[in-house]
Symmetry: C2
Subunit: 330 residues, 2 copies
């Protein structure tokens, strides 16, 4: 039996249990050129919610389809020359135990590392942090790097990589507990609770020399505050807009755009990690070396069981996770 979660009811406002529907189907048969994959882990990401809002860098989700999501799995049957049973692969086949799909839609993972690393620092998440910060943000040693959703999957990596790059690192997160954790466990120089009063003032106090690179995972009030604290020729890495994903009606953009972008000569630049995949192998080597040397902590918030996926994704938007949220399936 192939257990599945369907994307059933488009949310009006927040994600809810009714957004998803449990389904059981026969295990599919791979055709020529296809392989049968058994899901090992699912990656839960803010982008999953954004895909429900309309076309982005991919088509919008359609009600009735298996819920989309990035996953890691094991080939259990192959009708493709390139893959053999036992191979570990990644791809977007969504929230289900099994999928039959063309080998061309899968990426084989050959790097020797536990699945927790393959879903975390060595995954799309880790590469997003790596390329976004280093290639788009262009931090220099001594720069102040501010990152929002700093306790999240990408943010927790951005902060650690910025430290390795010799920067002063300040994060925003929801609640004092997470802020304390960022400073204590991940070496952030300071962390600001975005839910507390006086957000702009608190960030200003934590960044007395202004902000050189702002890695924006959230948009919204943190972006507005950051714009006013950017240094001349600062770089804003536009990675996500999570403050506006799980809402009925997205808010207008920050007042300061484009005014401050002009007067401070800022650069705001969006990116998608796949844009940098020609450099992927080297990035993975560096990330793995940092993990092996104990200089980069893999923070994975693992949930056990496919049946828990909807609850976990809802929890992500309530800020319940620390680091990468993933589901162990099989």
């Amino acid at each position: 039996m192939n257990r599945q979660w369907l994307y059933a009811n488009p949310p009006r406002g927040k994600l809810a249990a009714e957004t998803f529907q449990w389904h059981e189907a026969p295990i599919p048969q791979p055709r020529d050129g296809e392989v049968l994959v058994r899901t090992r882990m699912l990656s839960l990401d803010p982008a999953n919610r954004a895909w429900m809002m309309g076309k982005t860098y991919r088509d919008a989700l359609e009600p009735g389809q298996v819920m989309s999501g990035f996953a890691i799995g094991e080939v259990v049957e192959s009708k493709s020359a390139g893959l053999t049973p036992g191979d570990i692969v990644e791809g977007d086949w969504g929230w289900q135990d099994y999928a039959a799909l063309p080998a061309a839609r899968l990426t084989q993972r050959t790097i020797a590392a536990p699945l927790e690393l393959l879903i975390g620092p060595l995954s799309v998440t880790g590469l997003t942090a790596y390329f976004g910060l280093l290639e788009v943000g262009q931090p220099k040693p001594g720069d102040t790097v501010l990152v929002s959703a700093a306790a999240g999957a990408v943010g927790s990596m951005v902060g650690q990589i910025a430290r390795l790059a010799g920067c002063r690192v300040v994060g925003t997160a929801g609640g004092q507990d997470k802020c304390d954790w960022l400073a204590r466990e991940l070496g952030f120089d300071a962390a600001v609770d975005y839910k507390a009063a006086g957000l702009r003032r608190a960030i200003a106090a934590a960044c007395p020399g202004g902000v050189d690179v702002y890695f924006d995972n959230t948009g919204g009030p943190v972006l507005e505050a950051a714009l006013s604290l950017m240094n001349l020729r600062g770089r804003i890495v536009c990675c996500g807009n999570v403050s506006q994903y799980d809402v009925e009606r997205p808010a207008p953009g920050p007042m300061a755009v484009p005014g401050l972008v002009v007067t401070k000569r800022l650069r705001m630049e969006g990116f998608i990690v796949m844009d940098f995949y020609d450099q992927r192998a080297e990035a993975e080597r560096r990330l793995k070396r940092w993990v092996d040397e104990g200089r980069l902590k893999a923070i994975v918030d693992m949930v056990d069981g496919l049946e828990k996926a909807p609850e976990a994704l809802i929890g992500l938007f309530e800020g319940r996770n620390r680091g990468k949220m993933a589901v162990r399936v099989g």
Copy 2:
């Protein structure tokens, strides 16, 4: 006698006659290291209004001071080794017949060209269009370039330079008359009246292949529409935010920031022309050659008499000018 306009009453909302106050003072005496300059022409620019809103790339204007503004003048007395009477200089000494100031605050103009060119295509205005489009926007032949306030000083230059760079050029302007003029006189491929209904749809129709470079002089609704029409990896050159200068309370930024910046991998980048002044001499040579060859029209909307400066600046925000607005003083 030195006739002056003072910046008297900070506007709450729109510029008005009361914003300025006529004043007559003795002609100043240059001290050692200074020169006495007689104003020949004043440049009227949207930035003049932005300076009233607070600190930007320069300090905010202070009530009681002579109204600031870029000017071209002639040295009439010199106590500085570098300048002699008859020299043509430019600088920001504001709305007055005479000023005594240190030679270091002036730039001598040695390029042989009539004052209309020095205040237009060969001025800060022309260089802003040149560097903003070519250096920040990085247009490639065949790209579609959209420019807002296209009938204004910078916009009318951007459109012409984009044509010289082999691009398809679309402008927005206020009213069908200006739009017709852009197509007929300046060679725009299309122009859209931003005051008419259906702005986004009209721009989309004028840019069937999407927008590769948007040169943003205005912010506001044109920026919002442009964001949704940008092609992947498009560049938005943030030059001005004129839709938000002459208002009591600036509007929030476009809804699409940062969402579309992420998914389309856009780059929004602000600049100030002075950032590129190391390349100024070459830019002026190229601009002058284009004018001499008849490939670039110098559109200067000249007003006669210092006494008309406030009325002319107010008219600028009502969209009364075409091309560069300037005041002939002496």
